[in-house]
Symmetry: C2
Subunit: 324 residues, 2 copies
């Protein structure tokens, strides 16, 4: 009995999740703990929330460190004995780089440098990284495969692409295993920013009429967060290269106009929509996002939820959690 128990302890993986109290990060933490492994959540609670992880506080496999990824010393100390890092902490607001040229650089690229240095200092050799469809910019091929050129049109996309390159260099130098996941938008429980929150907020401010950024024509895809998290773990299990780049998207494509209508229907609203913009939501927006999931499909993955049902579930969750 003692031997079995020791063996089990010895076989446990120890993960560290930066941004582990955030929207996607906290679902990764749920997954890790549900599978009996150990996890250190490292989060500065700038956008992460204690309520997203509090259900684990009595789990002996769970450790919480309140810290900023830019604090390399603290991060490095927190990484002792860790086998695998999920680096999810980021500045995830794609739009703001136009008016603030430094925030993506600091939060995304310098944050990632700090994670890489902490891994290097601790001899940690496995990393999963949250990259983005934005690294492709206005892709020429749809659905866009992983070997397409990177042409980011925003500083958000540029810094995420830069992170990928820095990770690639460290991995080459020090023989690491790397899993870079290029996400479309994630939606679902604990969703905290993006078009669904924006629309619901506008509805609250003015239930009669809402202004919308584009002309409604940009086409997007999103993935339900539990489908996205299972894609990450299947990718890590099945991908066999040292450096793996894997798209996580959805074959359901909806126009912004359709997305808005689904949100309004789920919120039981008959508000008047006023589209104010052109065929892009903002300067640097990409008006068609459709990633190829062929690689993930060869691993046996497919999403359980349609894009439409994902939106409905997200609206439902936000309306039930008005303070989150």
């Amino acid at each position: 009995m003692a031997t079995d128990s020791l063996k089990k302890t010895a076989n446990k993986m120890k993960y560290l999740v930066t941004g582990g109290a955030g929207f996607i990060g906290s679902h990764i933490v749920d997954y890790i703990l549900a599978h009996g492994d150990k996890v250190v959540v490292y989060d500065n609670f700038s956008t992460g929330k204690k309520s997203f992880i509090q259900h684990h506080k009595n789990d002996t496999n769970f450790t919480l460190v309140e810290g900023d990824v830019l604090d390399t010393k603290k991060l490095s100390k927190s990484m002792k004995g860790v086998d695998f890092v999920f680096h999810m902490a980021a500045h995830a607001d794609v739009r703001s780089g136009f008016n603030d040229h430094s925030i993506d650089h600091t939060q995304n690229l310098e944050g990632t440098q700090s994670v890489l240095e902490a891994m290097f200092a601790n001899g940690v050799k496995k990393i999963a990284f949250a990259s983005t469809s934005s690294i492709y910019g206005d892709a020429e091929i749809h659905p866009t495969p992983e070997n397409s050129p990177m042409n980011p049109t925003s500083l958000y996309g540029a810094t995420k692409a830069a992170c990928e390159h820095y990770i690639h260099a460290y991995a080459t130098y020090y023989d690491w295993d790397v899993y870079i996941f290029r996400f479309v938008s994630f939606i679902g429980e604990r969703y905290t920013h993006g078009i669904i929150v924006d629309i619901l907020k506008k509805l609250k401010d003015n239930p009669k009429e809402i202004d919308l950024l584009s002309d409604g024509t940009p086409r997007k895809s999103s993935i339900y967060v539990l489908d996205g998290v299972s894609a990450m773990f299947i990718g890590i299990k099945k991908a066999k290269d040292k450096i793996n780049v894997i798209n996580i998207g959805h074959d359901d494509i909806l126009s912004v106009n359709e997305i808005v209508d689904i949100i309004l229907e789920a919120a039981q609203s008959t508000v008047k929509k006023k589209y104010q913009g052109g065929n892009r939501g903002w300067k640097g927006d990409n008006n068609f996002v459709h990633l190829s999931n062929e690689k993930l499909k060869t691993f046996g993955w497919k999403p359980n939820l349609s894009f439409k049902d994902g939106i409905r579930k997200t609206v439902e969750w936000i309306l039930l959690h008005p303070t989150s």
Copy 2:
């Protein structure tokens, strides 16, 4: 007569060249002044040399500012009235990133951010940038076309790729014209670092036997600096997109062993070669570099000098300028 003269002044382009006293930058300065345009050389003389630009000191179209690209305030002040920026200043030693994880980031990426901010502050909307074949890493396709994936295997390559992305984002936000040139190694007059300098230094230290980094098998290409500079100006004249990415390479490919033999022959040496390494010169080196020049060829460009003659000319110049 006065009208003509005024007209001529009004038609003059005003360039700023960061690293304008460096190896490649100083040849760009020569080209600009030979064509009657105005140029501000901005250089901190960390690797640039006054001797490379002193022949222009009495030219009224020439201005020298001794400054660091990281000094955004000084750079911005120097950029007043400038139409076009050549951003050539960089940390160009590909090898050192393995032991120093910050130097490429600071000198290349933060340096480029500073240039972009100075351009933004001054409303300058045209930039040519010195990128590198290293952004491709171990390319799968040879000769490697511009739309190949970026997979840099060194922090040098990673930071240069990051610079490209940041430039792309600013160009999208502010409607700039961009010319990104991905160079193989440049050789020729004023060459200051790289394999030719290394070998000649080793020869001086020990004329009987020299140690070499690889096993001699990596295959490389280089371009003679005047051919490379003419490629840049032809590219700027002929490329018609807002954001243009253009390889500058050579179809002559030589193994390191062949390169070393040409250097030794040009230096009239019969030293014994001792290859000490494997099929890469160092961790993160790419063992086959052959860029496609198809895009440049459609513009009517071709190199005047063979790779072999470029090496000979470089050895000759170094031996005649032992203190450079």
